[in-house]
Amino acid sequence: MIEGALWRRWMFYNIPLILFVFVLLFPFYWMIVTSFRPDGELYRPWNAVNYMPFWTNKPTFEHFRYLFEETDFGRWMVNTMFIAVTSTLISLFCGVLAGYALARLNFPFAGSLGTMIFITYLVPQTLLFIPLAEIIRNFHLGDTPWSLILTYPTFLIPFCTWLMMGYFKAIPKELEECARIDGASRWKAMLYIIIPIAVPGILSSGIIAFTLSWNEFIYALVFLSSPQEKTVAVGVTSELIRGDVFFWGSLMAGALLGSVPVAIVYSFFVEHYVSGLTGSVKG
């Protein structure tokens, strides 16, 4: 009986899970090996006798050295972090307030406003970025982090609002009513009663918003120009791809290090993320 259970557990749970983890993480393993591989080994075709895809005997830190000494990689990390955090905060601020209004207040056109906010999420970036460039110019924001901090919310706010709306809907109306009977104003009830309950939801939309801004490429490419202002994704691709020569080692090293901060954020918040999302979709 126990034998059977063990066998079943491996067959139906452990082996599939191991396969999943393997496939999802293999590219990362590949990137790690590449970033430590000396250049000489990078140029071996797959059918060469000495092709060693999974290991290298002569690991080198050269690519990391290049990344930090020859490029502004450190700066790019700081920039990306600043931009992602600030735009996430702005979007959360707007999204939480708007989500609350749309989910819990009665006012004319509430439904259509919600739909409109959602529809803005559908407008393709490729259509927007040229008119946006004009706006950025008019506000004299070109080549400053603010050009991104103010444009990223365009795709973050709809997302946050939508998630928060779901979350607020799930919180029972009675909570607020009790507070108001006790004499709290509507404003205070929202600030001190409802929003604290919604913290897990705020966290999870914050995490996704952060990831999306960390990921963005086109706006960052077009609106920033000085090397020291660039974000990781744009900086790495523009300085480590030289015409028809790729700096593979450094490129992969940059990609890996570029995902570390987000990975850390996630490892701390993944629990909240899961519970936050749960709340937001229950309603």
């Binding site: 060469a48 040229i130 460039a133 070109g142 300085e239 030289r242």
Partner: protein, 441 residues
């Protein structure tokens, strides 16, 4: 309207004296008082060079020197070559951005409305340095104005393995497509095919397919620039030949290669020849210990260059042309011109040219004589790259429509479709339809 007025003021000031920006007109034009002469800033957008040493030279030596001698600030920005176009477009549409933007090939025509005429500068330089090649002239000037200042041509030549070609009986590089086909067939049988991309990549794909088509007598449009002429017996022949050439002699992986793949394939010894800039050879000579032949000798000693083989109507080449556009929206046009003049003086430009080690061919005839070309015989064929070039859009002008056809990869896709199994008649008809949409508009 206001802008137009400003511009005429600048023009007036510019023709009066180069010091306009310190004069009253300059103040009016820029709309603010010049607190210091240092305030003039020229923002120069270029691609990240294939040759890292050249970027270092510009950054660490030439730019600081220019800043000192010209008393201005120069902001050199480098981006990935593929990303120059979105930057240029956004800058033009929003009316602000880099003062000088590098353009590739006939992209200049796409931006023709938004650039300043550089005729005086270019003609002056051409006169000093033995004349401008026809190829470079046609790409940068529409006959009325110079939309950009020619910088250099990145010659596209076939890099090939000397010893491997010798092994299959070709002591000299094949002269015609038929010979190249035969050599490639023998080489492919030994697991050393010819490598060529037919993918969507701005460098190595069109520089192969256009000259290839021309050498068979094909052309996209008649000299009037209106009548699409691609659907001809000659083009059809070229497509038929290409399909067998591809199957018999080429690495069939090439359909999706970008500009980097053939470099890697060549350096890892999986292909015997490929059309490319000199970057393969340069990379191999930079690291002779790393790139070695199967016999354990440095690979660089086994690489030679050759122009593309000849077809029934001759031998052609198309190369990557680099030029610098001075943008109309720029508030520092005079400073930018001053800088262009400075960097194109023989003394300064020569430093850059040498750092390229032959990778780039200057656009003026005088440089053919430069001793750099005698230093390394392997690089010598690049000397005349610019001289032999023909521009896309032939037999018409390389204008905006030709640029559109080029950036839509129509000629390249015509061959790619046939190679993938479409009937040659079908693929040429497809290309004709697409080209007609462009040229009739």
């Amino acid at each position: 309207m206001v802008q137009a007025k400003r511009r005429s003021v600048i023009k007036l000031a510019g023709s009066a004296a180069a010091v306009a920006s310190t004069g009253m007109a300059g103040i009016l034009a820029s709309g603010r008082t010049p607190a210091y002469a240092q305030q003039k800033t020229v923002h120069w957008l270029r691609w990240v060079d294939f040759v890292p040493a050249s970027d270092t030279l510009l950054r660490k030596e030439l730019v600081p020197e220019a800043e000192k001698e010209l008393g201005m600030k120069i902001n050199l920005e480098t981006v990935n070559g593929n990303d120059l176009q979105p930057r240029a477009t956004a800058a033009i549409q929003s009316g602000a951005g880099p003062d000088l933007i590098q353009a590739f090939n006939n992209n200049t025509y796409i931006y023709a409305n938004s650039v300043v005429d550089l005729s005086d500068l270019v003609e002056d330089l051409a006169k000093r340095e033995g004349g401008l090649y026809k190829y470079c002239r046609s790409l940068c000037s529409d006959g009325k104005m110079f939309m950009s200042m020619p910088w250099a041509v990145i010659g596209a030549m076939i890099s090939y393995r000397k010893s491997w070609f010798e092994e299959v009986g070709f002591n000299a590089f094949p002269k015609t497509w038929q010979e190249y086909h035969d050599a490639g067939k023998k080489l492919k049988a030994k697991g050393r095919p010819i490598g060529q991309t037919l993918g969507h990549t701005f460098g190595d794909a069109p520089t192969f397919t256009y000259p290839y088509m021309w050498s068979w007598g094909g052309k996209e449009v008649e000299a009037d620039g209106k009548t699409v002429a691609v659907n001809s017996k000659e083009t059809l022949e070229s497509i038929k030949f290409m399909t067998s050439f591809w199957k018999d002699a080429c690495d069939e992986g090439g359909l999706a290669w970008d500009d980097t793949n053939n470099n890697r394939a060549f350096l890892s010894q999986t292909i015997s020849a490929t059309l490319n800039g000199a970057s393969i050879y340069i990379e191999a000579s930079r690291k002779p210990d790393q790139y070695q032949t199967e016999k354990g000798k440095p690979m660089k000693d086994d690489i030679l260059h050759s122009p593309l083989p000849a077809g029934p109507t001759g031998q052609f080449g198309m190369h990557l042309m680099q030029s610098d556009m001075l943008m109309k929206y720029s508030k520092n046009q005079d400073a930018a011109k001053e800088f262009l003049k400075w960097i194109h003086t023989e003394k300064n430009y020569e430093k850059w040219f040498i750092s390229q080690k032959g990778y780039s061919t200057p656009c003026q005839a005088k440089w053919e004589e430069h001793k750099q070309w005698t230093e390394d015989p392997v690089m010598a064929p690049f000397k005349i790259a610019a001289k032999l070039g023909q521009a896309p859009g032939y037999a018409g002008l390389p204008n905006g429509k030709a640029a559109e056809a080029l950036t839509k990869y129509i000629i390249t896709d015509m061959y790619a479709k046939a190679v993938q199994g479409m009937a040659p008649e079908e693929s040429v008809k497809w290309a004709e339809g697409e080209l007609k949409k462009i040229y009739s508009a």
